[in-house]
Amino acid sequence: MTYALFLGCKIPYYLAHYGTSTRAILKALDVDCVDIEFNCCGYPTRMLDADAYLFSAARNFALAEARGLDILTPCKCCFGSLQHARHWSQEQPDLKARINRLLAEEGLHWTGTANVRHLLSVLIHDVGPDAIAAKVRRPYKGLKIAPHYGCHALRPSKVTRFDDPLAPSIFEKLIDLTGAQSVQWNKRLECCGNPLWEKNSSLSVALMNQKLADAKLSGANYLCVACTYCQIQFDAVQHLQAAQNGNGLKLASILYPQLLGMSLGCDAATLGLDQNKLDIGGIENFLDQSKSLADDGPALTRTL
């Protein structure tokens, strides 16, 4: 299994540990990643100039096609943005022809053969629950996790084809594989609020706070996300809010590769547990101490 890893614009600098943790779990699960210098997925320009957005998205597909690879992204906004581009290109052949004329200036071409996959889809469908379960060395015990789905992968389902839009389940399954217990909560499918950050920040924070309060009610120890922007919102923005307004921290968010990575026995520093703005170090207390990593299989480096 080999994919072109699409990290998007924010991961390399702002959320480097999402990149390193994603690579770590993919490596542990024998999924190979190829690095291509992609450009922006186009999402930020989509609100202003849809043509420019489509061209940006298409150029990424053309780059992946040139290498004969599908794209794998850990970001749900990048995923949605790229999926939309594929969708419209299929609906509008003229549009695709116009974009291909521009791509030809760089010697690129977009036929539409490359797919885009979100990290969670690859894990559940391509790697498979059994293969993951077989590699979990140190399952969690008594850890309650509230999965936050993220809008741009889930909806519009006709375009994204990620999971059942009204009753999705793949994230819960993936969380449960680590030994943690996924909890149900009312607002699990709602928006994190990040798309409005710095556009209408008070509204952005209001949306986030509603979610946090609801997640807290579910009794979860942590939120879990698999999206760059959701994590920025629940980690950096929540942290900033707490620092500015003195609000007590409500609920820290862990990235799914961090959660899975710890149970797979990946190195905590590679997973960047100390890189989150809100402390998630407590997650290590939930690891089943009775299972030692040295007991089975080749030793994976890990410091507890």
């Binding site: 924010k10 600098y13 210098e37 450009n39 100039d49 043509d51 521009l102 389902s157 839009p165």
Partner: protein, 566 residues
């Protein structure tokens, strides 16, 4: 020659004044809003402290490593782009080599090598090799600027001048040497100096030998040239010339040129072309020296400095803290920039430029505009809003900063520039549009919007008429909207609710729909679209309305530039 000495000192004076002006600007110029101005004194103090810490601290080692690895050997470029590395290496080592070995031979080469004579190898050969390196580098530079799309579009007169200066200096040097090789008058002078005679008959065999073997173009030799004469010439050559003059063929480029000049030799010798070329070469060098602080070549001095400064300062403290050192660092950036275009060719949102055509999207151009804005605000309102559009389309991926061969913290400059643009009434385009449109306009305003409403269904696929024609006003979209749910009185806060916007669009009332705060406060969570029982692409309609507002704004700005930013 007196005049040339005076010219040299004049160029040196201009160079020094220019140097001072450039460095003075580092302590004066504000990149960022004026209220965060850091006075020159505080900047100078921070720079001095940093300098002392670097020179006498552990960072001195780091600075040295960076200087050698990144400034001299350009190791960070070699992996990025081998051709660019080769191009720079050829020009850099060729030019620096010539400057040290040839231009400053009296000051450097002679003291170092006791046997230094400019016409003896390896110096004779090396001069040509280095000159050739520069020329090949120049040719590669031109080729890249023509061949690579984004480089061609961003090449400006400053880049061209830098390339032309280099070319003229080197090419005039080669031409000068070529003209000297064929020159009979120079031969006569040298024979007089080194053979100790100017008697034509005594010199004749030597001249014949040089004409036959070394390309001197002799007008008329008053003797028959045979084996014996040439042998005599050879022994004279061995006696008087050979110790201080290698075969001119060693200067392989100049010698090749001299063969080209050979048919015009008598003309060259009559007008003393060698003397004219000597003046050209020297004046070109002096002009290059005088112009250096004002040209792109100034990066020779500032780029290494910038690389060292960014290596010894902490890159992670970018956005929040604004220190005096950073104000200085920002002001240095334009002088350190070589306009190599690496930032623009690797820019994450670079492809957007191909469609929007706003050069302010590309980092290398945005930097120039940002400095124009900071300088003395020469930018017109229209240019400022283009700069704002370009600046806010940036996704802060830091790729430009991590890739810059001159170590410029570009991202920090973008943050500062955006703060300045916001302060000066040029906020992010999304916010500008939100403010301009976030109130209900009940009348169909002007022709532009009508035209847009007519044409867009064709151009934007998700805006096809059928997209909203099936709406039967069940209000599901409004009922599931998390933004609507956030407001105690959503109708007032958002002006129009999602189902009302769908209805307005269905009636063709684009201005009415665009005026709703709702479209600017949409989170694009797609709940409305997902749950619409009639398959109306509600979110896409809202997205399209934002696109229409952007397009309308762009059109009105291009038709009436003054009104645009009011």
């Amino acid at each position: 020659m007196m005049i040339m000495t005076q010219l040299f000192y004049l160029s040196l004076t201009i160079f020094l004044v220019g140097l001072f002006l450039r460095i003075y600007r580092w302590f004066k110029l504000d990149i960022g809003p004026s209220d965060t101005h850091v006075p020159a004194g505080r900047r100078a103090k921070s720079v001095l402290c940093g300098l002392l810490k670097t020179v006498f601290g552990i960072s001195a080692v780091k600075a040295l490593i960076v200087f050698i690895a990144d400034a001299v050997l350009q190791l960070r470029v070699i992996k990025q782009d081998f051709v660019r590395w080769l191009m720079h290496g050829l020009m850099f080592f060729g030019f620096i080599g010539l400057t040290l070995m040839h231009a400053l031979d009296g000051q450097i080469t002679e003291p170092l090598f006791s046997g230094y004579i400019s016409t003896v190898n390896p110096f004779y050969f090396l001069r040509n090799l280095m000159g050739m390196m520069v020329l090949v580098g120049v040719a590669l530079a031109v080729y890249r600027r023509v061949k690579i799309n984004r480089l061609r579009m961003t090449t400006n007169h400053v880049d061209i001048i830098a390339i032309v200066i280099l070319f003229v200096i080197i090419a005039s040097g080669f031409a000068l040497e070529g003209a000297q090789i064929i020159s009979e008058p120079i031969f006569d002078d040298m024979a007089a100096d080194y053979m100790g005679t100017d008697d034509p008959e005594e010199v004749a065999p030597l001249k014949a030998y040089w004409a036959a073997n070394f390309g001197v173009m002799v007008d008329a030799l008053e003797m028959d040239v045979d084996e014996q004469v040439l042998e005599e010439g050879l022994s004279l050559h061995e006696e008087s010339c050979m110790q201080c003059h290698d075969r001119p063929q060693s200067a392989f480029v100049s010698y090749g040129l001299s063969r080209l000049f050979a048919p015009m030799a008598s003309f060259f010798n009559d007008v003393r072309m060698d003397v004219m070329l000597w003046y050209l070469h020297f004046i070109a060098c002096f002009a290059g020296l005088a112009y250096l602080p004002f040209s792109r070549l100034f990066h020779m001095i500032v780029s290494p400095l910038s690389l060292i400064v960014s290596a010894v300062s902490n890159p992670k403290e970018t956005r929040e803290q604004d220190t005096p050192a950073k104000a200085t660092q920002r002001a240095m950036a334009l002088d350190a920039c070589t306009h190599c275009g690496a930032c623009s060719t690797h820019c994450s949102v670079g492809p957007v430029f191909q469609l929007m055509g706003n050069e302010a999207i590309l980092p290398s151009e945005k930097l120039l505009l940002t400095f124009s804005m900071a300088g003395n605000n020469q930018l017109k309102d229209q240019e400022l809003s283009r700069l704002s559009d370009g600046s806010f389309i940036c996704t802060d991926c830091y790729r430009c900063t991590s890739i810059c061969p001159s170590g410029i913290n570009l991202q920090d400059i973008w943050f500062a520039a955006r703060r300045q643009l916001e302060k000066n009434g040029h906020p992010a385009p999304y916010l500008r549009l939100r403010r301009q449109n976030g109130h209900v306009i009940h009348a169909q305003s002007d022709e532009i919007s009508a035209a847009i409403a007519r044409t867009d269904a064709d151009e934007m696929p998700w805006m096809a008429a059928t997209a909203f024609a099936t709406c039967f006003e069940c209000q599901t979209c409004t009922n599931v909207c998390p933004v609507v749910a956030c407001h105690p009185n959503p109708g007032e806060a958002l002006k129009l609710l999602p189902h009302q916007i769908m209805h307005a669009v269905g009636l063709g009332l684009m201005d009415l729909a665009m005026g709703a705060t709702m479209i600017w406060d949409c989170t694009t969570c797609y709940k409305c679209q997902e749950q619409c029982p009639q398959g109306v692409q509600v979110t896409e309609v809202l997205n399209t309305l934002k696109n229409l507002a952007w397009r309308k704004d762009a059109q009105s700005r291009s038709t009436s530039p003054e009104k645009a930013t009011a």
